[in-house]
Symmetry: D3
Subunit: 340 residues, 6 copies
Amino acid sequence: MSKVVTYGEIMLRLSPENYLRFLQCDRYEASFGGAEANVAVSLSNFGVECHFVSKLPEHEIGQAALNALRRYGVKTDRIVRGGERVGIYFCEKGASQRPGKVIYDRAYSAVSQAAPDEYDWNGIFKDADWFHFTGITPALSELTAQTCLDAVRKAKEAGVTVSCDLNFRKKLWTPEKAGKIMGEICRYVDYCIANEEDAKDVFGIEADGSDIYGGKLDRNGYESVAEKLALRFGFKGVAITLRESRSASDNNWSGMLYTGKKAYFSRKYPVHIVDRVGGGDSFGAGLIYALLSDYDPQSAVEFAVASSCLKHSIEGDFNLVSLKEVANLASGDFSGRVQR
Amino acid sequence: MSKVVTYGEIMLRLSPENYLRFLQCDRYEASFGGAEANVAVSLSNFGVECHFVSKLPEHEIGQAALNALRRYGVKTDRIVRGGERVGIYFCEKGASQRPGKVIYDRAYSAVSQAAPDEYDWNGIFKDADWFHFTGITPALSELTAQTCLDAVRKAKEAGVTVSCDLNFRKKLWTPEKAGKIMGEICRYVDYCIANEEDAKDVFGIEADGSDIYGGKLDRNGYESVAEKLALRFGFKGVAITLRESRSASDNNWSGMLYTGKKAYFSRKYPVHIVDRVGGGDSFGAGLIYALLSDYDPQSAVEFAVASSCLKHSIEGDFNLVSLKEVANLASGDFSGRVQR
Amino acid sequence: MSKVVTYGEIMLRLSPENYLRFLQCDRYEASFGGAEANVAVSLSNFGVECHFVSKLPEHEIGQAALNALRRYGVKTDRIVRGGERVGIYFCEKGASQRPGKVIYDRAYSAVSQAAPDEYDWNGIFKDADWFHFTGITPALSELTAQTCLDAVRKAKEAGVTVSCDLNFRKKLWTPEKAGKIMGEICRYVDYCIANEEDAKDVFGIEADGSDIYGGKLDRNGYESVAEKLALRFGFKGVAITLRESRSASDNNWSGMLYTGKKAYFSRKYPVHIVDRVGGGDSFGAGLIYALLSDYDPQSAVEFAVASSCLKHSIEGDFNLVSLKEVANLASGDFSGRVQR
Amino acid sequence: MSKVVTYGEIMLRLSPENYLRFLQCDRYEASFGGAEANVAVSLSNFGVECHFVSKLPEHEIGQAALNALRRYGVKTDRIVRGGERVGIYFCEKGASQRPGKVIYDRAYSAVSQAAPDEYDWNGIFKDADWFHFTGITPALSELTAQTCLDAVRKAKEAGVTVSCDLNFRKKLWTPEKAGKIMGEICRYVDYCIANEEDAKDVFGIEADGSDIYGGKLDRNGYESVAEKLALRFGFKGVAITLRESRSASDNNWSGMLYTGKKAYFSRKYPVHIVDRVGGGDSFGAGLIYALLSDYDPQSAVEFAVASSCLKHSIEGDFNLVSLKEVANLASGDFSGRVQR
Amino acid sequence: MSKVVTYGEIMLRLSPENYLRFLQCDRYEASFGGAEANVAVSLSNFGVECHFVSKLPEHEIGQAALNALRRYGVKTDRIVRGGERVGIYFCEKGASQRPGKVIYDRAYSAVSQAAPDEYDWNGIFKDADWFHFTGITPALSELTAQTCLDAVRKAKEAGVTVSCDLNFRKKLWTPEKAGKIMGEICRYVDYCIANEEDAKDVFGIEADGSDIYGGKLDRNGYESVAEKLALRFGFKGVAITLRESRSASDNNWSGMLYTGKKAYFSRKYPVHIVDRVGGGDSFGAGLIYALLSDYDPQSAVEFAVASSCLKHSIEGDFNLVSLKEVANLASGDFSGRVQR
Amino acid sequence: MSKVVTYGEIMLRLSPENYLRFLQCDRYEASFGGAEANVAVSLSNFGVECHFVSKLPEHEIGQAALNALRRYGVKTDRIVRGGERVGIYFCEKGASQRPGKVIYDRAYSAVSQAAPDEYDWNGIFKDADWFHFTGITPALSELTAQTCLDAVRKAKEAGVTVSCDLNFRKKLWTPEKAGKIMGEICRYVDYCIANEEDAKDVFGIEADGSDIYGGKLDRNGYESVAEKLALRFGFKGVAITLRESRSASDNNWSGMLYTGKKAYFSRKYPVHIVDRVGGGDSFGAGLIYALLSDYDPQSAVEFAVASSCLKHSIEGDFNLVSLKEVANLASGDFSGRVQR
């Protein structure tokens, strides 16, 4: 069994029930999520031994975050305990023409205030096969940026494959700062994952011919973006998720994997959305699983996209699907017929 | 800041959760709503000072109705307290081919039993810019019909612009009675709002070439209806909401504003419905806001339709959207992408 | 008023709320359902006197099952009390590309362990017009298979019309065993109901030219299946439900009634699904009602399909619609407009 | 098996969840209840054939009320259908020093507007053993007062035993009016039930030495009240419930049965309250059951008090306890130990 | 009508449902509260015009906090908008021997980061009669400490009566720091409110003879504490709430008002707790109301204690009781009998 | 850190919300529990490495049971996967004089059908310090009885301390059968735990002078029972939980530990019950923790009783309390004051 390590923040997610707005609700659905935690849970569901590295306060809210991971089999013994707060995000679902809305309240979280030397990367990477994180983590603070750099260096030393989802968040840092820090980190990265906006926001690399907000995507454009990324940083692979937003309720979802030689595009799924948060993360997890399992590129991107297609039908950040369910969809059964 | 006054009934709305039918539920979602209250809340959300005139019992159910308005910034000091009951309506959501269903239990409500002289219209209209009500209010009782007539006369004396949404309800009165009373009231009205059936039901004015139940709409037909209405009553403007019901889950939604010279048609939105009750009211509120803000006719109808398009994605009667959200949609961002 | 008898199992149905998965939920919606109980409730809602025959434990879970039937007017005095357990099924809703999932926990239920002589079929069929059951019941155990055979024989003796929905469940028995037992039972059946897979699974009769999983249906193929079924067993009529699964959220739904002379196909409805479980049962109930009411074949299949189309918009197994609602849809009002 | 008839109103009961106040809640628990309906349900739970006579609208809220009775086995075929509304009552739970609160919205309900000749008392009382109603019913309207009088006369003619719970409601009528009408009706009553205030409020008969609000009860006083009542109206028996309100959360509960010869006092239960509404009705049902079953007076009052003691631990108006549970408590097992 | 001003923080309160622990819940009840906001709501419920001064972010969580106040009639136009976050507190109910638990996540809230000059105290205190705050507010930050000092000085200049609840929170500051800052502020305070621990924690003034944790209170001891406080700061009055914790479910609750001449002790209430958070604040509000209404000292303390006794029976921070309800309890009706 | 192993069944627990009865609810709270699983969770919460041995089906309900353990840190890698069903129990809360009620539906569960050789006891007991199970497990089937015997023998061989809670369940087996099998098993047991009825039901050993249903306990009697048990089986210690049921809402709770020399009685706690299921298991867990930590007998029984006292305030089977919380109560802080 492979061993994967992810590092990042896990937040308390507070969502009004159903389609209620923040201004209406007097009750929040409480769950936990965060880009790298989501990847860890998804991989655990696929049977991979997955360790999540982070810092969480000792109080019950911190413990609840840890328990949420443990419940789905993620290994939590590398989570440092201490600090003051668990980051929070408020998440309101969109519907039809009304966009979803996320309000972050994550500043000063324990993980963002943790000193780089609180993590024992040598121990963490022992026997590990893969290390994954996203561009959100270095954006949290100077401390996490430094920790990310430490981690990728140690990973490389330990012969661990490294993947990074660019995941640009404009509320956390500027494109300039992101470009500088991510540029440095990406030198240690093997596989780069991005959505249709990240490459431009972080590195100024544009998808020629695409109109993100109009929802039209051009395959050649994306291939050229991936090529440029791979050239600049020497990535072994670049994967891009392709979302066409027809409305907050209906999207088209597909993906691409560029291997340095060729771009492999997946099937495109019209998804009727239950919850799209974590869609990109579930793509990442699917891709890591497929690559760890030596899938060929076309199969890998199909697996990753099928996995993340299913995520859109699941409440919360975590992609609670089994290997068998993903394989079934990837193999072409789209009918959604009841399994008895 | 403008000051708007609306007059009408606010009811307790009892809805089974999600898509449960009345015969299944053992719990009701409780909220408050009513045509003119909905307009008041929507305008308050846009930053307009809005006063709601009505009568509510002194007991806690009456107080809860008042609090529901106050919560969203509506001014409630012109609500007379007394009487026996708060009107109630039971509201079951439709889905797919199953229509939504409304059961009214509003007879004998406090506002329907209030004497015309319980309202101080001179005081109410002091410094007011606009007065709005709908055809539901005069339909409640002889007393409210008389009060409406008092109100529009006083409004005219005070130089207040008057708008009326015809809002015909066949359970409340006959077309004959509606035609007679509304005919008298409409002489004091500046802006008339209607849906695709009202003009015919109340005044026998038909939209030639339309097939309401088949969901096909003819632009020329609606323009001619508006023209006839304007001619008969001297309206400065006539606005019509255009709903194409493809099913209880999916409608097309657009609108028209006729200014005496020309009919301005809005963009048409395909809406996946969360809750369509109050759709017409949110159109009215959007229109009043746009006209108070001196929008040109095309922008006004686009704003009104964008506003009411969003209402279809929101639970309850009230249109809880901000100016910025409406402006964003009206400006052409239909993608429903998550706002972080 | 007609008197109908149905015999089978009623189970406790446990469903996670909304679109939650089994692995997420800490609460289950609890309702009751089962193929023949669903038919009984649907017929009771149409005003037919309907008796449900089964066995239920004396404890509160058994009583709650009985009460669920009684609530909707089903006669329960022919339910034998005793035995250990109420069968349970766990039901997770699908969405978009994610299929719904059913986990059965029905082994050893009271009805499956009841001896054939616990039921007084002579008394039960007194004054009865119709007897209905499905292929699930004889699949439960040797005892229920024998009881079914007893029942159809007694029904025939009493001059009661018999209908059977093939309803093959591969978790309960093999095609071979089903073919053998159902083959014997069907000799006493007047009307046979099936979905697109049953005829093949139970009797090896195939719908030529159809691709069930791809969702393409061929009218001629189904007609030939019905013809073959009618020929083999001498059925007076064969009805087939036709489901095209576009996804777990959206299906097309229609049906066919073959009368020995001709195949009558209904209108096809695109349904946006709230809950599709019990869809076939509501078709059966609609058909029985129509046949008891001497509808012509085209009207009968339209009524049955309209009835079951509406079921897809209703939570739970039971089809809680009135005669008037079905008639309204069957007559062609698809708009789903709010009924006030 | 005995056959009992009760006549009165069944209302929709809307209660905030848990201990929320009306001003806080955005959701109501919806159930149904009413004095005579509560008695009917309780008797049905004891295995008695019980018919409820009333009038309910044809719409779904009326149907839901009927279904609520049917669910627990009450016979509903004597319920006339028609009229406009189902009476409603809002019910807020008290706690500790904060009293519970009930807001009635029952005026103009279907049953209160039904003409006396809508009920076929001759048919209703065929084979009946007992007729029960409470002082609430004649208080609803002139029509129901007349209907009550009709009913008790017909009951007497048919040899049916009649019981009446005085149940004075000051919001419905004055003591004067109650005294006059109830005085007339009581001439046909065999068994009279009252609480500690009713006799005084309706007939000016006081329980000497008691201090209702202070919660002190004097056995001799109650005996003398019962004696006076029996003397004035010739009752065969007078039963009185004795509530000592220590707080909204904790009461002492006991009862007395006076048979013309002697007063039999029950054991006194200290109850920690879940829901006390319907406590008196469950006492009435217990008493009727015991008298129909020829219990001796002491056993009868113990059974009635045990039954109603248990009601205080059950949510909603209906006393959902079995004969066995009441018998167990009445026999002296107060420990509340888990039954496995 | 009097005008009262309070200044402080309003937080989002997140509570598991019922008695669930933080580690169990996947849903939070969301409400808003904070010492001074609680006082404002309580006074508004008594009909007093009450203005709450604070700072809240412009996003929807900030708006929801403001709406929660507006709903209950508190004037919110003096709330400055801006800053990043709304303070949060997690609140788990205790039961029996298990203590309730509060986890604060309030650091860096908008109000704690607001500059003193963001508030226009001259405008705020125009026509005001009373200013109230608690020791929590100056403990939030240097900025709020300074703002408090500004406020009390301006209040004194404007002839506004000032009250302060010591409300020591050891997680926010040390006794030393509290003593220093509160010592300075208290020079401008007219009425001081404290619980059984505050005087000692803040000023080292002990209640001789009391054993807080053992729950034994000595009246003379409290009188001497009040006397010392009054002497040191020249308070016009000192009020102390007296809580005897028998368990997390049951407390005894009473209070004392010392006027410089004499200590007036209230009746003592045994309370069965629904939610005790905000108990002290509701005492403060009751006291302010009574003093503004010129109650004599005994009546004032009885009113304040009755008000806060009722708070213990109400969910959330806010004391949603009416004047009439408090008066009724204060007048001696403890029975908790249902009000119909 | 110690390593503890427990073996038994974990069931799906379905409970109506709050105080609803089975006959009312349309929703169940779903959690998991079972005597030995409860002990495992409790010990994990105290920081002990605890392994649960059982068998669970591979489907999602089985997985959910496993996840429930994993969430709280229990090691689940010794759970065999396979079989058909997860045992279920329905659990209705009692209140006041109404007893709680449990309906078991656990027959044919996977663990009860597992062959003894499916468990690798040698591997399981490697490095283990303690093995715990209860009398429920051998009562499930012949197979589990044999497995228990295998387990205790292997435990003894491996030098592992063995504890057993007699936990007699009359629905599972007769006293005769229990006496025979438990008599054999107990020869390998070091510490025996029982409640006030078990010793009599299983071994016919009576607590002289106690009246279980009347709730009166005699210390000498219990001491003599413990002495007899210890003599017959050579137990190192016998612990007895002492419950006095005043009602379903209020119990007194204490315990005794007999060490062969002396009986140590704990403090007695009056508990206001939230959920008493699992109370005995939490006592067992507390006792094991204390003995593993070498507490003296008085401290051990105080810790065990404090731990289980707290359990009564927690929803569900699992005792979700920390070491610190138990220690705090055991040290004498009963006030239940809010921890901020």
